[in-house]
Symmetry: C3
Amino acid sequence: SVTVYGLVDMGYAYRTDNYDASKSGRNGIDSGIASGSRLGFRGVEEISPGLKGKFVIEAGINADQGSAAQGGAAWGRQSWLGLDAGVVEARLGRQYSPEYLIYGDIDPFSHGQVAKASNIFQHVKTYDRINNAFYLTTPYFGDVFSVDAIYSFNRGGDEAVANAGDKRFYAIAPKLQFGKMFKVVANYSHDYDKAKYTTDTVVELGAIVDFGVAKISGAYAQPKLESTPVGAAKEPKKYNRYLLGATVPFGNFSLLASYAYSKDKNDLDEKATQIGIGGTYAFSKRTDMYLGFARIDADDKIAVKYGVSDGSNTFNDYRSGFNLGVRHKF
Amino acid sequence: SVTVYGLVDMGYAYRTDNYDASKSGRNGIDSGIASGSRLGFRGVEEISPGLKGKFVIEAGINADQGSAAQGGAAWGRQSWLGLDAGVVEARLGRQYSPEYLIYGDIDPFSHGQVAKASNIFQHVKTYDRINNAFYLTTPYFGDVFSVDAIYSFNRGGDEAVANAGDKRFYAIAPKLQFGKMFKVVANYSHDYDKAKYTTDTVVELGAIVDFGVAKISGAYAQPKLESTPVGAAKEPKKYNRYLLGATVPFGNFSLLASYAYSKDKNDLDEKATQIGIGGTYAFSKRTDMYLGFARIDADDKIAVKYGVSDGSNTFNDYRSGFNLGVRHKF
Amino acid sequence: SVTVYGLVDMGYAYRTDNYDASKSGRNGIDSGIASGSRLGFRGVEEISPGLKGKFVIEAGINADQGSAAQGGAAWGRQSWLGLDAGVVEARLGRQYSPEYLIYGDIDPFSHGQVAKASNIFQHVKTYDRINNAFYLTTPYFGDVFSVDAIYSFNRGGDEAVANAGDKRFYAIAPKLQFGKMFKVVANYSHDYDKAKYTTDTVVELGAIVDFGVAKISGAYAQPKLESTPVGAAKEPKKYNRYLLGATVPFGNFSLLASYAYSKDKNDLDEKATQIGIGGTYAFSKRTDMYLGFARIDADDKIAVKYGVSDGSNTFNDYRSGFNLGVRHKF
């Protein structure tokens, strides 16, 4: 009644800076460059006809150092209990946000490699996993319409006494699919900081068209952050963010390419553009190789840092990167 | 030769205060409300006829946040190696105290939910798990008499150099059973602090009568704490503690009720009373739902805090609570 | 495709000081005295004829306290991904150094018990496991010659930005075997500290002769540590270290004995000698008992501390020790 599963991803990552010539690069043998290394335990129980019990406990692993990923959380990738009644499944625990799951599809690099979309779409990284979450998900009704919704009393740590410093979070993500070819997804996230009385929201829309010979995907996102006030008027910081991606399979090889762009809407002229190109080669169903390159052009020397990230690390101010590695599922 | 097992318990818990109206309640989606969420590995080897090797390695999981329970100990629920010779089994490692195991039977809520007996019987919480422990347990001789004993060089952290700050702990728990209907249990715990030269002891007696239609249980405990001196004479703090519990099964449903009372014996008039009521409903052998309510009345505003606890949290000064959740074994 | 395996080792360890009578001993019920307690997950995939994918994820466990060993690293014993092409196997991740693997063979106590060779051969402890490592290993070509090599951008923590504080490490270990009877091994380790501009090296040679009725092993090592400069001339600290070991099997019982000696080459007269004697008794293939005694004689009151170590602990200044325990594989 328990399945042990996982993935180990190890490779080489290099990051450097195309802006500041005095900064030398970083060489690393890193874990989880394309997909986070993990060890998981999951199970399903048929409680009664039409009702299933489910659970997932998943540890993120920095296999380059034998430590726990996700900032040291022992089972920090996912840990939840679910009841699946067919028309709706309810889950309680630490879980992915609907937004993070959506971009797993839209981003050709699927949250991995130096070229991951969240280098520019930083709001996706902020809301990757939600603690203390109540999640509802449906199947595709009429094979067309599905919806995911999530609520948390505190998306970060444990709920505080009197819930004083909690970050109340909810999100709703409707999805449409038309056959295997066309998919439209949307998301609205609402993040209320009880201590600061600020609300950050994200509205976004994505689409995926799968022509068979190529998969084209795109997204538009509009984060609005009251937690980052701008100027004397303390206007919330706002962004327009665009993503365009392509995945082109040739047998065991897949070519991956993406373009991501972010610009503030507060006349600060904080622009950032990322181009990413890469590929994967499948040795077998369970093992593949990957390779990727990314470069960011940005004018935001002062404010927000946009940088390519590698496996073990997240954001920093290096502006281009390369990686090469092997990924093994079990 | 290894069995992977575990339990995920997730639910909603609410705590509030019936004393101080200005204090707002705490809402939480919590892990391990009724039973601590866990992932375990265990095995048995038939070394020779009459001799078995055994082990348990068990991780406590805060599934609401993907972190390790038991204060961050990776395998903090249990981790021990045992040799079972039939007439006696010896175990070495981090283990439950005999007392904690006894109250798992006496407390109708079995150390879980907001109404757990250890909210009032705080000494049971202090000695839940013992590090560096040598444990001896016997089967019921003549189907009637059994005894558990435990010794530790330091019940908390690792044994110090020169054992200077260690807390030497031992306990002995004789048990009698008369058929399936009647059980009497006793425990004596002895906790010596080598740094402070103080000894805390607990003497306690419990009984369980199972009428089939209902199970009635009760306990009396007398903690005596030299580590908490009282007044100018520095008398050890002493308590009388009483517990009464009932479990009434109706098919898949079980009604749970308990009453717990603590009063100091140092004429400080520190009284605390808890009433707890709840229930469990079994969907299947492996999955059930639970619901519970607890309320504490206490006069001890100044000294010891008695509060209802929920899954992820332990003691605090909230005085009533409610919880509702689902528990799944695997 | 996943194998769950492990080992639990629990016992009693006593350490005391034969130099300073005022120092009282340390008593402990400890984990991992003879072999580190662990829980592991491993798998092999036949990717194609002649190419295998492999992984190991292994958690070290202080079973006496339910905590993670290796300084709290969740999967700190080993975590790596490998591709095995037959003539060479490449592995990426946190791994044993070639040197540590070699001494697992040469040291009759195989890195365990109070008498472990690394009490004196401290350089072996320093380089036990290497983070961010790229490892190459070959089978024995012509059944005679094999070589292991390792490289790491930073043997300690994660590779730093600009790799500023990294400790670049590499080692190469050629090995010769002549039938089952005779084995010669060598190792060269090179550890460059990028922040301090110092390089520590070790050159060492070992041999094992297995007569069947007894196995005799020996090693000579020459650490040279620029990171520990000596005197006004800031000469690198240098040592000569010698190890002699014997393993004598009598049925299920094995007698273990070792002699280890270290002396500086900087005319500081820092001498340390360890004698160790012990034994193991196999109850079954998976479970055994062990017993050991060690005593160190040293003149180095001021500089380097040489001390016997027990399971959970490493170096300290206790000079003799005894241990007794049980070890169970699963």
